[in-house]
Each structure stands twice: as structure tokens, then as C-alpha cells.
Amino acid sequence: MSDLEIRTRDDKTNYVPGEELAGEVSWRTDAAPRDAELRLFWHTAGKGTQDVEVIETISFDSPARSDRRPFRFTLPESPYSFSGKLVSLIWALELVLASGETERLDIVISPTRNEIALQGG
């Protein structure tokens, strides 16, 4: 049974563009994973085709069976997190082990630190 976790500093999930996002990831698995990485990405969700873009990836060297690693990203200036009726843009962190196990944490990036609500959209 594996146990993966992403913790941000002070458990913060709402950020402004350009801000630093720091924290720690940890995992406990049956065997040492061949690779482990943390991805900062955004994707769309809604009625149409899904778009996704990985902005930055941190690879953790020589991951152990039970491990804990700090991470730090400088968040980009755009795009902002938003939601309308037709489409949402969602930022997230995803911890991925070579075994295929994943853990995800949704975050918000916008000038107000809150997801922008599109009117009628």
C-alpha cells in the first residue's frame, strides 16, 4: 500500500502570479521507485477538447522507498485560474512515481488569489 503526499508551506493553495510556491512531497512505497517527479501544470476542463500544459518539472534523484523532498517553484504570470460554464482552467501540482502512482493537489493562481468567475461563460 503506497502513501503519497504533497504539502505546501502553511498548507497554502491560493497564490498570486510570480509568487514562490514551496513545500514538501513525501512517499512511502513497497519498493524504491525508479523515478519520482513533481509537475506544475494547468489543464482545462469543460465541454470541449481538454488542453494541458506542464510548466515545470522537478525530478528527485535516487528516490528511496520512504522519502521526503522539499520543492520550490516560482509561479508564472499567466494563465490565471478561472471558471465559466463552458470551461475552467485549473492549476495543479502532481507527484508522479515511475510505478504510475500519482498524487495531485489543485491550486489557484490569480491576482486576487481566488479563481476568476467568468460571467455567462
Binding site: 465541454k47 463552458l86 475552467s88
Partner: protein
């Protein structure tokens, strides 16, 4: 209703897998083998042909084949000649072609493709009509199937506040993809629906 909370958003609908009725994947693979690995999945728009093709891919890979994909649709009805020439030239017995939307090819081009693709280990196509290759299976839909899928996407939430799936099924002539897209709009327009009832 935010798009991210809509239970009929694209990423959730794409997670719905093909529901075989009265036949198993193993049965289909056995039939495919009897057809010398050259066959067609037949059915109308939105009946699950592409989904079934995707579901068969790991099974074909497990047999030691390497799947090569081709896709045509209403937006893209032809391959550039140079592309298809190179595709066919590089085929080996280890390759298994998954050709989605093969009916888009002109009869003349299909005839040539069929002949030249024989050096591949297999060819599985999807098509709206029978006759291009021996039929592996026919995909069909029903109001009951639509209701089952809608119910699963709603994660146990009542269907009471939504339109009849039978009417929606008829309106879209059995095209489940079209019906589920309309469900997205219907759900998006309902501000009173509780998004917390919808799981990811």
C-alpha cells in the same frame, strides 16, 4: 455551475469505457484471431467504436503486437500521399494497424490501402457501414445504455431533475456522444444543482 464541476465535462465522459453486452473482450479477440486479425468494428456515430478500439489496444499489445494508429474523421478526410506511402512502407508483421474512421477513405484509396497493409500483423478499423473488412462486432446503443451512463456520471445523484434520457436518445438518433454533450449544457444551466454531489 462551474465547468470544472459539471459531471458531463469531457474528461469524465472520456473515462466511460465501452460496455460489452453478451460478449467478452476475450471472445472478441478470439474472433479477431479467426478473422486473421483483419476486421472492422461497425456502428453509427456516437456508438462507442473508438472507445472499443481503445479498450482493445492493451489486449493487442499483450499479444506482442505494436499498435500503429491512423485516424480520419469529418474534419480530416484524407492522408497526404507521402505520409501514407511512408506509413505503408515501414510496416512489418509486428505492427497492428488501428484505423479509426476508415470509411472516410475513397473506395479506390481503400482498395490500395487494404492490399498494401497486408504485411502488417493486423488491421482493425472502425466504420459506419459493413463491407470494408469482415465485421468483428457491431456497436449499438439504447436509451437504457444512455441512462446507465448518465446515472454513473451523476455518481448516484437523482435523474429526476433532468430530461428523460429516452427523449434525449431519440433527439440524437442514438448518438450517445451528442446526447452527453447536450446533458453538459442542460446541467450547466441548472444553478440549483449541488456540485458537491458530483465526484471526480
Amino acid at each position: 455551475m462551474k465547468a470544472r464541476n459539471n459531471p458531463f465535462r469531457t474528461d469524465r465522459v472520456l473515462e466511460v469505457r465501452y460496455r460489452l453486452r453478451g460478449v467478452s473482450l476475450t471472445d472478441l479477440l478470439n474472433r479477431l484471431q479467426r478473422l486473421s486479425y483483419r476486421a472492422a468494428i461497425v456502428g453509427p456515430n456516437g456508438s462507442g467504436k473508438t472507445t472499443l478500439l481503445e479498450d482493445l489496444e492493451p489486449e493487442i499489445c499483450a499479444l506482442g503486437f505494436r499498435v500503429k494508429h491512423l485516424r480520419l474523421d469529418d474534419q480530416k478526410r484524407n492522408f497526404p500521399n507521402a505520409f501514407i506511402k511512408m506509413f505503408l512502407a515501414e510496416l512489418s508483421a509486428q505492427d497492428f494497424i488501428f484505423f479509426d474512421g476508415a470509411e472516410q477513405m475513397s473506395a479506390l484509396k481503400w482498395h490500395a490501402f487494404k492490399a498494401k497493409s497486408r504485411k502488417a500483423g493486423g488491421l482493425l478499423i472502425t466504420s459506419h457501414a459493413k463491407g470494408m473488412l469482415p465485421t468483428l462486432t457491431v456497436c449499438s446503443t439504447s436509451p437504457e445504455l444512455l441512462e446507465e451512463i448518465v446515472s454513473d456520471l451523476l455518481n448516484g445523484e437523482s435523474l429526476m431533475s433532468l430530461p428523460s434520457t429516452t427523449k434525449l436518445f431519440r433527439k440524437h438518433d442514438g448518438n450517445l456522444r451528442g446526447a452527453l454533450r447536450e446533458m453538459y449544457d442542460i446541467y450547466a444551466a441548472k444553478p440549483h444543482i449541488n456540485p458537491s454531489a458530483v465526484g471526480d
